[in-house]
C-alpha cells in the first residue's frame, strides 16, 4: 500500500472532486495498483540517465512577438458559466 485512503481524499480535494466513501475505497485500490507498476520501474538503475521532462526531442519552438486580433467579447464570454458587465462572474472571492 503506497497511498492511504486519506492521501486519496487529499488528492481529490486538490482536484476539487467530490467522492463518496465507496469511491474513495475503490480509487485507493486503483491508484495503488498503478503506483505498484511505477514501483517496478523504480527498480531500474537510471543513475546515468538525464531526467526526462519531454519525450519528443524537439526544442525551442517559438512564435514571433506579433500581436493578432483577439476574440470578439461576446465569444470570450460565450462559455462563461456566468457573466456580468463584460466580465466573468464567479462566486465572491475574498481578496488574496
Amino acid at each position: 500500500m503506497i497511498l492511504s485512503r486519506e492521501d486519496v481524499s487529499q488528492v481529490a480535494f486538490l482536484a476539487r472532486l467530490e467522492l463518496t466513501d465507496e469511491e474513495k475505497d475503490k480509487l485507493t485500490g486503483h491508484i495503488n495498483n498503478l503506483l505498484q507498476h511505477f514501483a517496478k520501474l523504480q527498480e531500474l538503475d537510471t543513475d546515468a540517465v538525464e531526467p526526462t521532462s519531454h519525450v519528443i526531442p524537439v526544442e525551442n519552438v517559438f512564435r514571433e512577438d506579433k500581436a493578432r486580433p483577439s476574440l470578439p467579447p461576446q465569444d470570450v464570454l460565450a462559455n462563461a458559466p456566468e457573466s456580468q458587465d463584460d466580465c466573468f462572474a464567479v462566486p465572491r472571492i475574498v481578496e488574496t
Binding site: R63, K66, L77
Partner: protein
C-alpha cells in the same frame, strides 16, 4: 533586552515590454475594455495550444545576464496547479525548481556609503494573471486582459552564497529595488512603473535573535506601490514583529497587506499550510535550449548598465559617487545629464542643478523626468547666461523654476520678467546712495570698523534691485561710496 536582526527577501515581478502575450497573439498592451484581449489560448479553452513568445525569452535572458546570472542551458516550463480564478486554465505556466532561465546572480547597491552585492537566486519566466474586479452582491468580476502577459520573476537568495550579501534593512530593500528597476529599464525589458503595477515587489520579512543562524518565521508584504511604500511598509513590519517577539509572542507565517493611508500592515491570509501546487513539466511547450555562444553574443550586446555608467560619470566626468548613483538611478535622468554635459562641458554645474533644483521640482510636482518640459538645452542655455554674467546664480533659481513650469527658454524668461543682472555702475550708484542715506547708523558702524555690518547694506541694495545687482559690483561700489562719506 534581546536584540533582533532583520532578514529580508525580495520577490519582484516585472511585466515584459513585448507586443503580444506570452503564449498567444493577444496584445500585451496595458488597458483595454474588460475581456477584449483574450483568445482560446489565454482563456484555456479545450484544444488550444500555447506557443512560446521568443521576445519574452530573449528579454529574460538579457535581464538575467544584466543581473550577473548564469543562463541555464536547458530550461523548462512547469504547470503550477491551483483553483483560484485569476487564471482560467486551473494552472499558471511558470518555471519551477532548478531550471529557471537565469540563476546565481547579484545586484550591487550602495546605502550610506556601504556597498553590498545582493545575491539573486533565480530569474524566471511565467505568465501574469487576470484581474479580479469589484464585487457585486455575492459575485466577483474577472477581466482576463492581463492574463497571459509575459511576467519575469526575480528572487533574492537568503542566506547568500560566499562573497555575496543579503538585504538586512528597509533602506537596503528600497535601494535594491531602485537599482533593479534601473537595470530593467536601461535594457528596455520593463517600464518600471510601480504605481501601475508593471513592476511589483513582495518582500518577505523576518527577525532572528542576533547571533542565531536559523531564520525566524517570515511574513510576506503585498500592495507596495511606490518606493516610499516599500520603505515604510518594511519598517512598519519590522517594528511590529519586534514588538510581538519582545512580548514573548510568535510570528505567524502569513501574507500581510500594506495600507498606505493608515500606514500599517494587516493580515490577509495565513500561510501555515503550504499550498500544494503539484508542479510538473508543461507538456504543451518544448524545452528551451541555450547555446553557449548565443548567450555570449547576448551578453556582448547588452547596453551600458547603470553601474558602468555610474563608474564612467565618476571617473571621466569627476562626479561624486553619491551624485553619480542618483543620476544613474533612472535612465531618463542619466540621459538628460549626458545630453546636457555634451552641450555645456561643465558636468559639475549640470549635476548640481539636477541634484538640487530639478529633483526638488520633480518631487514637489510629482512629475516623471520623461514628462518634464525641461530639456537639457534649457539648462545649458541658462548656465551660459550665468557664465556670461547676464543673470546671477540667485536669479537663476527663479529662471529655472519658470523654465520647469512653462518650458520657456531662459533668455525669454529673463527678458520678459526683467531679470537681467545690473552691471551698469550708473544704474546702481543712485540706489546705493539711497541705501546709505536711509541707514546712517549702519554707515557709522562700518566706518567705525564693524565690517560685518556691510552685509546688511549689500542685502538692502539687492532688495531694491530685486536680486538683480551683480554682487561683486555692489560690494565695490558700497565701499567706494562709504569712503566718500568718511
Amino acid at each position: 533586552m534581546q536584540e533582533y536582526e532583520p532578514i529580508i527577501g525580495m520577490e519582484v515581478h516585472a511585466e515584459l515590454l513585448t507586443e503580444s502575450k506570452m503564449f498567444c497573439g493577444c496584445t500585451a498592451e496595458f488597458g483595454g475594455e474588460p475581456n477584449t484581449r483574450c483568445c482560446p489560448v489565454c482563456l484555456g479553452l479545450p484544444g488550444s495550444l500555447p506557443v512560446i513568445n521568443v521576445k519574452a525569452v530573449q528579454y529574460v535572458v538579457k535581464a538575467a545576464l544584466a543581473l550577473n546570472c548564469s543562463i541555464t542551458p536547458n530550461s523548462i516550463f512547469h504547470r503550477k496547479n491551483y483553483f483560484y480564478p485569476d487564471l482560467p486554465k486551473g494552472y499558471q505556466i511558470s518555471q519551477y525548481g532548478d531550471t529557471p532561465i537565469g540563476q546565481h546572480g547579484w545586484v550591487q547597491i550602495t546605502v550610506n556609503g556601504a556597498t553590498k552585492k545582493i545575491a539573486i537566486r533565480r530569474v524566471h519566466l511565467e505568465e501574469d494573471t487576470g484581474k479580479l474586479l469589484h464585487v457585486e452582491g455575492d459575485r466577483s468580476h474577472i477581466d482576463y486582459n492581463r492574463g497571459g502577459v509575459p511576467l519575469m520573476e526575480i528572487v533574492t537568495q537568503n542566506p547568500p552564497p560566499p562573497g555575496l550579501d543579503q538585504i538586512q534593512s528597509a533602506e537596503e530593500a528600497k535601494e535594491y529595488l531602485v537599482r533593479l528597476r534601473a537595470i530593467l529599464t536601461y535594457i528596455g525589458v520593463n517600464d518600471g512603473k510601480l504605481e501601475e503595477g508593471s513592476l511589483r515587489c513582495e518582500p518577505n520579512i523576518s527577525l532572528r535573535p542576533v547571533g542565531q543562524i536559523e531564520f525566524g518565521v517570515k511574513t510576506e508584504l503585498k500592495n507596495l506601490n511606490s518606493f516610499r511604500a516599500v520603505l515604510r511598509g518594511i519598517e512598519y513590519e519590522l517594528e511590529r514583529q519586534e514588538k510581538v517577539l519582545l512580548k514573548g509572542g510568535k510570528i505567524v507565517h502569513e501574507t500581510r497587506r500594506w495600507d498606505d493611508v493608515r500606514g500599517a500592515t494587516a493580515s490577509m491570509r495565513s500561510k501555515e499550510f503550504e499550498q500544494e501546487y503539484r508542479y510538473f513539466p508543461e507538456p504543451d511547450l518544448t524545452p528551451l535550449r541555450f547555446d553557449a555562444q548565443w548567450v555570449e553574443e547576448q551578453r556582448k550586446a547588452l547596453p551600458e548598465l547603470p553601474d558602468q555608467r555610474k563608474r564612467r560619470f565618476i571617473e571621466e566626468l569627476g562626479i561624486p559617487e553619491y551624485d553619480a548613483e542618483i543620476l544613474t538611478d533612472s535612465r531618463p535622468m542619466a540621459e538628460f545629464f549626458e545630453e546636457a554635459v555634451k552641450l555645456s562641458a561643465d558636468a559639475k554645474s549640470v549635476s548640481n542643478w539636477m541634484m538640487g533644483d530639478l529633483l526638488r521640482l520633480l518631487n514637489a510636482t510629482g512629475t516623471e523626468m520623461e514628462q518634464s518640459k525641461l530639456t537639457p538645452s534649457h539648462l545649458t542655455e541658462m548656465l551660459n547666461l550665468i557664465g556670461k554674467g547676464t543673470i546671477s546664480g540667485k536669479i537663476a533659481k527663479t529662471v529655472f523654476e519658470e523654465m520647469f513650469g512653462t518650458g520657456r527658454r531662459a533668455s525669454e524668461i529673463v527678458e520678459k520678467l526683467g531679470l537681467t543682472q545690473i552691471t551698469d555702475e550708473s544704474e546702481l550708484i543712485p540706489i546705493i546712495n539711497q541705501v546709505l542715506d536711509e541707514n546712517p547708523r549702519i554707515v557709522q558702524d562700518v566706518l567705525g570698523g564693524k565690517d560685518k555690518s556691510l552685509a546688511f547694506l549689500v542685502g538692502q541694495t539687492m532688495r531694491y534691485t530685486k536680486g538683480r545687482a551683480n554682487p561683486p559690483l555692489v560690494n565695490r561700489l558700497l565701499r567706494e561710496r562709504l569712503e566718500s562719506r568718511r
